[in-house]
C-alpha cells in the first residue's frame, strides 16, 4: 500500500486531522497549566467556592479536549499504513499526550486530596486555610483557560464526570492506550532543543530586587546565592 493509491482527498483529510490533534495538544497544555496554577491556591487564604468552581470548569474543558484527542489519535494510529509519512509526527503526539494525561492525573489526585483536607463546607473551615501570602485571585488564569477552544467543529456529547470518576477514567484511558497501540515510546525524537528556547522574563531575583534604602531599620544586607545584581532586603513590620 503506498501513497499513490491514496487519493488526494484522503491525504488532505489526514493532514487536517493531524493538525487538529497538534492544536488540541497545545490547547490541552494550556488548560492543564492553568489548572495547575489554580490548584496551587487550594488550601491557601484565597481558596473559596469561587476558586473551586473555576477549577471544575477548567477540568471539564480539559476532559473534553482529552476525550476528543484520545479518540482522534487512536484512529490516526490504527489507520496508519506502512511507511506513512507522518508516522513520526503522530507517534510523537501520542507520547506527548500520554505524558500530558499522566501529569494531569497527578494534579487531579492532588486536588482531590486537598479538597478533602480543606472541605470548606462550614464557615469555620476557613480558619484552617493556610496564610501563604497571596493577595490576588486566579480569575485571570481561569479566564485564560476558559478562552481555549477545541479545534474540531463537531460537538461531541460529553459527560461531565466528577473528580473521582475523572481520575479513574484517565486510568482506563491510559491502559487502553498502552494496550491498543504498540508505539515504542523511547524511540520518539523530540523537535525541541534541549534548552527549549528563550522567553525572556524576569527571574525571581530580578523581581525581588530592591534598591538599597538608606534610612530606617535595615536589618542588614543579605546576599542571595545567585543574586548578581542587587541585594535582597526584607523589612518586616
Amino acid at each position: 500500500m503506498n501513497r499513490w493509491r491514496q487519493s488526494v482527498v484522503e491525504i488532505q483529510t489526514r493532514k487536517r486531522q493531524v493538525n487538529e490533534c497538534e492544536r488540541a495538544q497545545a490547547a490541552l497544555s494550556k488548560v492543564t497549566a492553568c489548572f495547575q496554577q489554580m490548584a496551587t491556591s487550594l488550601g491557601s487564604n484565597i481558596d473559596g467556592s469561587f476558586l473551586r468552581e473555576e477549577l471544575e470548569e477548567t477540568r471539564t474543558v480539559a476532559h473534553k479536549i482529552c476525550s476528543g484527542l484520545h479518540r482522534r489519535l487512536l484512529t490516526l494510529l490504527t489507520e496508519m499504513e506502512q511507511g506513512q509519512e507522518d508516522k513520526e509526527q503522530v507517534e510523537r503526539l501520542w507520547v506527548i499526550f500520554l505524558s500530558s494525561l499522566e501529569n494531569f492525573q497527578q494534579d487531579l489526585k492532588k486536588v482531590k486530596a486537598l479538597q478533602e483536607i480543606f472541605p470548606l463546607t462550614q464557615r469555620k473551615d476557613r480558619q484552617a486555610l493556610v496564610n501563604t501570602g497571596y493577595a490576588g485571585g486566579t480569575s485571570e488564569v481561569a479566564a485564560r483557560a476558559a478562552m481555549v477552544q477545541t479545534p474540531w467543529l463537531s460537538i461531541d456529547e460529553t459527560e461531565r464526570p466528577d473528580l473521582k470518576t475523572h481520575i479513574r477514567g484517565i486510568d482506563v484511558l491510559l491502559e487502553e492506550m498502552l494496550q491498543r497501540v504498540n508505539v515504542p515510546l523511547w524511540s520518539v525524537e523530540p523537535t525541541q532543543e534541549a534548552d527549549g528556547g528563550q522567553e525572556e522574563d524576569e527571574s525571581l531575583e530580578d523581581m525581588m530586587e530592591v534598591e538599597v534604602v538608606s534610612q530606617n531599620n535595615i536589618s542588614g544586607c543579605c546576599h542571595h546565592h545567585n543574586c548578581k545584581v542587587g541585594c535582597l532586603l526584607c523589612l518586616l513590620s
Binding site: 495538544q25 497544555s29 494550556k30 492543564t32 497549566a33 492553568c34 495547575q36 496554577q37 490548584a39 496551587t40 491556591s41 487550594l42 491557601s44 487564604n45 507520547v95 506527548i96 500520554l98 505524558s99 500530558s100 499522566e102 501529569n103 489526585k109 492532588k110 486530596a113 486537598l114 480558619q127 484552617a128 486555610l129 493556610v130 496564610n131 501570602g133 497571596y134 493577595a135 490576588g136 486566579t138 485571570e140 488564569v141 485564560r144 515510546l185 520518539v188 523530540p190 525541541q192 534541549a194 534548552d195 527549549g196 522567553e199 522574563d201 524576569e202 527571574s203 525571581l204 523581581m207 525581588m208 534598591e211 536589618s219 542571595h224 546565592h225 545567585n226 526584607c234 518586616l236 513590620s237
Partner: protein, 469 residues
C-alpha cells in the same frame, strides 16, 4: 507508563503519620485567634503579607504545647526541613533560626507528600521553566540534573518544553506580588524534594513495604478478631519483675559450675588447648560419665531427656518399674514431630498400633478425653496430631517417674561412680604452651593460584583479625 512510577498494582501509598501530624500543627497555626502572629514583608513597593519570624514560631510552639525552648526549636526545625515553612532570606539554608529571620508558610499544593512523590517530569518542567526564563539561571547542580533528565526522558521532551512555556504564561496572569510568592514556593518545594548534593535529603522513604497498605474492612469480622486478640493479650500470664529476676538469679547460680567460660571446663577447653579430651569424655557412649553431667540431670526433667545417656538410664529404670512404654511413646512422638513429612502417616499408624490401640502391646495410660481427641485426629494425621497425648505422658513422667528416679539406687550409684576429670597438667615451662592458630580463612580456598603472591599477605592479615575476635 512513561516516567511516573506511581502506584504499582493500584496500591496507594499512605501519607506518613509524622507528616499528617505536622500538617495538623500547621493548620492550627492559622487560627485567627490562637494562631501565630503574622507580619508583612516589604520589598520596596510590593508588600507581601503573611510572613513571620523564626522567634515567633518558636514562641508559639512553646506557648501552645508547653514545651521547652529546645524542643520547640527542634520542631520548628522539622517544619522547615520538611518544607512546611520556608525561609525568605536564605532560601537554600533550610533551618529555623530563632531570631527575626523571616519565614512563610508553604501552600498545601506543595506540601510534602509520600502519597505522590515529586516526579521527574515535574522537576524537568521546573528546570525548563527556569532555563527558558533566563539563560544561565541554573546552578551547577541543576544543570547536571537538567542534562541527565534531557537524556533520560528525551522522548517526551517536547511535552516538557511545551508545558513549561504554558505554565510560565499562566503565571504571568497573576499580579506581581503573587508571582513572587509562587516562585518562592516552587523553589522551596524543589529544594526540599530534590536537594543538591551535600544537602540533607529528607525525602528518604526507605524500602517499600507492601503489607502496609492492605485495606482493612471495618466490619463485624474485623472487630471480632480485634476483641479476641485483646482478650488473649489481657489473659496472658504475667510475672512480677522481682520474681522473674529471682528465678533468673537462681538459674545462673545453678548453672554456673557448668559453664565453660565462667568456671572453666575439665580437663581443658578444647578450643584453647586443642585437646579434645573434654568432648570424648562427654560423648554419648562413654561408660563412665562425668560428675557434672550426672548432676545436671537433677536440675530438670528436660535436662535428663535431652542427654541421650540420661534417656538411656531413665529407660533402664523405667523397665524395672514396668512403665517403660511411657518413655518409648514420648520418643516416638518426638520422632513424628521432627521427622520427615512424607513418613508421618506411617509413623503415626505405628504409634497407634503399638501404644494407643485397645489391647496394644505397650499401651499408654492416657485420660479418656485426650484419647478421644487423639483418636479423632488420627483420621487426618499431621505433624502435631499426637501433641496432646505426648504432653500428657510427659507430665505423667515428670511428676511421677522422674522424682523417683532421682531418689533411686540406680541414679545414686551412677553419681557415685561418676568421675571428675583431672585438669591437664600445665607444662613446666609456661612459655612453651601450644601455639594457638586460627583455621585458614575460607577466602583463601577460593583464590586463584595467580594470587599466590597476595595469598601469604592476606592469610597473615586474616589470622590476625580472627584471633582478635
Amino acid at each position: 507508563m512513561t516516567i511516573n512510577t506511581l502506584s504499582q498494582d493500584g496500591v496507594q501509598r499512605q501519607q506518613m503519620p509524622c507528616l499528617t501530624k505536622m500538617e495538623r500543627m500547621i493548620i492550627s497555626m492559622q487560627d485567627p485567634d490562637m494562631g501565630i502572629k503574622l507580619r508583612n514583608q516589604r520589598l520596596l513597593i510590593t508588600v507581601i503579607p503573611h510572613a513571620m519570624t523564626g522567634a515567633d514560631v518558636v514562641e508559639w510552639l512553646i506557648k501552645k504545647f508547653s514545651i521547652s525552648d529546645e524542643e520547640a526549636l527542634h520542631i520548628g526545625h522539622l517544619f522547615v526541613k520538611y518544607g512546611y515553612i520556608y525561609p525568605l532570606k536564605e532560601p537554600r539554608n533550610l533551618i529555623l533560626k530563632a531570631d527575626d529571620s523571616p519565614y512563610r508558610f508553604q501552600t498545601p499544593y506543595y506540601w510534602m507528600s509520600t502519597r505522590w512523590p515529586a516526579s521527574e517530569l515535574d522537576f524537568a518542567i521546573y528546570l525548563a521553566k527556569k532555563n527558558i526564563r533566563k539563560q544561565g539561571e541554573l546552578i551547577e547542580y541543576e544543570k547536571e540534573c537538567y542534562n541527565a533528565l534531557h537524556k533520560r526522558i528525551n522522548h517526551t521532551w517536547d511535552f516538557v518544553v511545551m508545558q513549561a512555556r504554558e505554565q510560565l504564561r499562566a503565571s504571568k496572569q497573576r499580579r506581581k506580588a503573587d508571582r513572587i510568592v509562587l516562585e518562592c514556593q516552587e523553589q522551596a518545594f524543589w529544594l526540599v524534594n530534590k536537594p543538591p548534593l551535600g544537602m540533607l535529603d529528607i525525602v528518604d522513604y526507605g524500602p517499600e513495604r507492601r503489607t502496609m497498605n492492605t485495606r482493612v474492612q471495618l466490619n463485624a469480622e474485623f472487630y471480632k478478631k480485634e476483641i479476641e486478640h485483646n482478650r488473649i493479650s489481657l489473659g496472658r500470664n504475667r510475672v512480677k519483675a522481682y520474681i522473674c529476676v529471682c528465678s533468673y538469679v537462681k538459674y545462673c547460680e545453678q548453672y554456673q559450675p557448668h559453664d565453660p567460660i565462667m568456671q572453666g571446663c575439665l580437663p581443658s577447653n578444647p578450643w584453647i588447648t586443642d585437646d579434645v579430651m573434654f568432648w570424648s569424655m562427654n560423648s554419648e557412649t562413654v561408660t563412665v560419665p562425668t560428675k557434672l553431667r550426672v548432676e545436671r540431670w537433677s536440675f530438670s526433667f528436660m535436662e535428663l531427656l535431652n542427654d541421650p545417656m540420661g534417656r538411656k538410664e531413665l529407660l533402664i529404670y523405667l523397665e524395672k518399674e514396668f512403665s517403660a512404654e511411657n518413655l518409648c511413646f514420648w520418643q516416638a512422638c518426638e520422632d513424628v514431630r521432627h521427622g520427615e513429612t512424607s513418613k508421618i502417616p506411617e509413623k503415626v499408624n505405628e504409634v497407634y498400633k503399638q501404644f494407643l490401640a485397645p489391647g496394644a502391646s505397650r499401651w499408654v495410660n492416657i485420660d479418656s478425653k485426650t484419647m478421644e481427641k487423639t483418636l479423632e485426629g488420627l483420621r487426618r494425621p499431621h505433624r502435631f496430631v499426637l501433641d496432646d497425648a505426648q504432653m500428657h505422658i510427659y507430665f505423667l513422667m515428670k511428676k511421677d517417674s522422674y522424682p523417683r528416679y532421682l531418689k533411686s539406687e540406680l541414679y545414686k550409684n551412677l553419681l557415685a561412680r561418676a568421675i571428675v576429670p583431672q585438669e591437664t597438667k600445665k607444662s613446666v615451662f609456661p612459655f612453651m604452651r601450644r601455639q594457638r592458630h586460627s583455621s585458614p580463612s575460607p577466602a583463601l580456598a577460593t583464590q586463584t593460584p595467580e594470587d599466590d603472591g597476595k595469598n601469604s599477605n592476606s592469610s597473615k592479615s586474616n589470622s590476625g583479625t580472627a584471633s582478635r575476635l
